[in-house]
């Protein structure tokens, strides 16, 4: 789906990514883990095409349809419906399909009935689900998520995880950064460990948590799992 | 309500002085002219210096000011067609009723000499207006060189007649004013007319059509119509008819000189 080869990103004096290479195949659910400042967010943004980078970024043709869900959702001061309309418009979806897609998206994230509400009047968890609905409405082949449940309460967290599992089951390719190793274990098919702008481990989930990860990653696991 | 383009094109822009507008003369005179000719006169009122400058730039069709020396220079330099005398009013020296400088009387030059000696407060318009030009002439006649050494209480405001009177009223100062503005001035406080009637205080107004050779767009015919009308018996009578509180302000003298 997407291949990053020897990608580096710098912000001013800081080298956020140092020659990172990663390839994600169709249908994979990749979890990016690592300490703060390790470059998880930067890698996500770089993969999503939001940053200037050196190195190579290659996309499969169907990977052109992408979306991203951010840690703190930004919804416009419009109704829920109009927020979705905006996403559909920006995503190039034909107007004729809008009503149906809006209904389907809201149903999928369990926000049906709230179409006319001001989006800003929703709770934090609801706004994040709206952001996910917004992303899903354009039927992306590739979905990026930057710590999507970090600012949610446990109940909302469970709801979102169920949604993501559902997307994966439908065949969507997902790349998600998370601080929550349990979440990574529950959802991901593959775990990538970053530290200090470089990838230090890249393994199927079972192997990663089963002791297959190398020195640095092991230390991190020990520290986080304690 | 048509704000942008006025339907009728028969109007001229007249550059005049604040004394004629603020005394209310135009409010009385121009409707009479419009009735007689159908021509609208749009007055931009400012100091004589500014008014002449407007004429030089070609932003006015006709001038109606009161500084004969400057007016004649204007015509001589080719900016105006011809200067015609129209009317005169007079200046008065206004000051606190108590008159600490003791200037009360009929002689403006003596009055200014006393003012200079007494260090009393005097407000000057300082704005190159006709009134200001006259004031400077009186100081010169009194032997005071304003440019070189101002008297102790002399204050220049760079402002119009009304604001100068306002300042004089609030600070109990002396000021040279034209009678028209004084009569319609509502904020007199403790001020009163102290010097009047001196022949030298007579203030001559002239009308000049801006020269179309300099500024081809000038509405010469309409402007000339006003110039001709205001010196005609009809115009002169209208000027004489204007009174405030029964007092005539402007004295038509188109036949003179």
């Amino acid at each position: 789906m997407i291949r990053m080869s020897d990608v580096s990103v710098r912000f001013g004096d800081v080298q956020a990514l140092k020659g990172v290479s990663i390839a994600v195949g169709r249908g994979e659910f990749v979890a990016l883990v690592g300490p703060n400042g390790s470059g998880k967010t930067t890698l996500l943004r770089a993969m999503h095409g939001m940053l200037r980078l050196s190195g190579r970024r290659e996309l499969a043709p169907e990977a052109a349809k992408q979306a991203m869900v951010f840690q703190r959702p930004f919804v416009m001061r419009l109704s829920v419906r109009n927020n979705l309309r905006l996403a559909l418009w920006l995503g190039g979806v034909p107007r004729a399909q809008w009503n149906e897609r809006i209904a389907a998206a809201l149903a999928r994230v369990s926000l049906q009935g709230l179409e006319e509400r001001p989006a800003r009047a929703l709770s934090g968890g609801q706004q994040q689900r709206l952001a996910i609905a917004r992303a899903w409405a354009i039927r992306p082949a590739l979905l990026f998520l930057d710590e999507p449940t970090a600012s949610l309460d446990p109940a909302a967290k469970k709801d979102v995880e169920a949604l993501l599992a559902g997307f994966a089951a439908d065949g969507m390719t997902l790349v998600m950064s998370t601080h929550n190793l349990g979440q990574a274990k529950r959802l991901a098919s593959r775990v990538v460990y970053l530290e200090d702008g470089a990838i230090h481990a890249d393994l199927p989930t079972a192997q990663f948590f089963g002791g297959g990860a190398g020195g640095r990653a092991q230390q991190f696991l020990k520290g986080e799992m304690a | 309500m048509a704000f942008a383009a006025q339907a009728q094109d028969r109007f001229i822009v007249m550059s005049s002085t604040t004394s004629t507008e603020q005394s209310g003369l135009f409010g009385h005179l121009l409707p009479v002219f419009r009735k007689a000719t159908g021509i609208d006169v749009r007055v931009v009122a400012q100091g004589t210096g500014q008014a002449l400058d407007m004429g030089r730039r070609g932003d006015a069709d006709i001038l109606f000011v009161h500084d004969q020396v400057a007016e004649e220079k204007f015509v001589a330099a080719g900016f105006g067609l011809e200067r015609k005398p129209v009317m005169y009013n007079d200046f008065v020296v206004v000051g606190p009723k108590a008159d600490p400088a003791g200037v009360r009387g009929k002689d403006v030059v003596e009055a200014l000499k006393k003012l200079a000696a007494s260090k009393a407060e005097f407000v000057s318009r300082g704005d190159k207006s006709g009134t200001h030009a006259a004031e400077l002439r009186y100081w010169t006649a009194a032997g005071v060189d304003i440019a070189a050494a101002k008297p102790a209480g002399y204050k220049e405001c760079g402002c119009g007649m009304g604001p100068a009177l306002n300042i004089a009223a609030s600070t109990n100062a002396y000021v040279l004013a034209d009678r028209g503005t004084w009569l319609s001035f509502r904020n007199r406080a403790d001020l009163a007319v102290l010097v009047e009637g001196d022949r030298r205080l007579f203030n001559q107004y002239g009308v000049i059509v801006v020269n179309p050779a300099r500024h081809p767009h000038v509405k010469k015919d309409l402007a000339q119509a006003f110039a001709d009308w205001v010196v005609s018996p009809a115009g002169q009578q209208a000027i004489a008819d204007y009174k405030i509180g029964g007092e005539q302000l402007f004295f038509p003298n188109a036949g003179a000189r």
């Binding site: 930004f74 416009m76 920006l90 952001a131 | 942008a4 603020q22 730039r57 509502r186 904020n187």
Partner: protein
Amino acid sequence: MSAFAESVRTAVDLIVHADAVLFHTVALSLHVSGTACLVAAGFGLAFGAWLSVARFPGHRVLVWGLNTLLALPSVVVGLIVYLLLSRSGPLGSWGILFTPTAMVIAQTILVLPVIAALTRQLVGDSLRDGGDQLRSMGARPMACALLMLVHDRWAVLTILIAAFGRAVAEVGAVMIVGGNIDGVTRVMTTSIALETSKGDLPLAMALGIVLLAVVGVVNLFLGLAQRGHGSALAGVR
């Protein structure tokens, strides 16, 4: 204190008797300043939005220049426009000096920096919050900025109210380019200036009170419209 009381009484009298000249003067003030605001909004909102996303060498200088223009005295704007429109000036052939059109032009120039500078700041702040997410959805930078104008529409309205206030309250520019011609270019502020210079201070104050009252009514309607659209709803973030 009695001067104030007299002014208030005169103001009420003027309004109640709906003096035709006063009505025309007020209408002209609203027309000139309102038109100037709308025109300046068209350019200023777009320019401010563009500035918040544009990146080019000299960008900082442009922003500094814009912020400095906020202090442009109205009388200076009047002078500049006068010299441009004067018959001896480059645009003299337009022949619009001493007309309401010239006044609109002068006031547009006066409030354009206000709208642009405040818009730039407003949109810039909102873009810091959500610009990334809009870009992620596929919006190009200028589209993000324009979307933020929609997102912040009530703040934009406040900016326009401020600009309108600046325009309707100024006297320097309209006096010079309009000439305060009775019945043609005399607006509320130039009337106030004229009555002040004639020494009729109570009338000048009364006119000032009338002007504020009129603007107050306009703002009342705008405020009601805002409430109606629910931006004051509880729970909205």
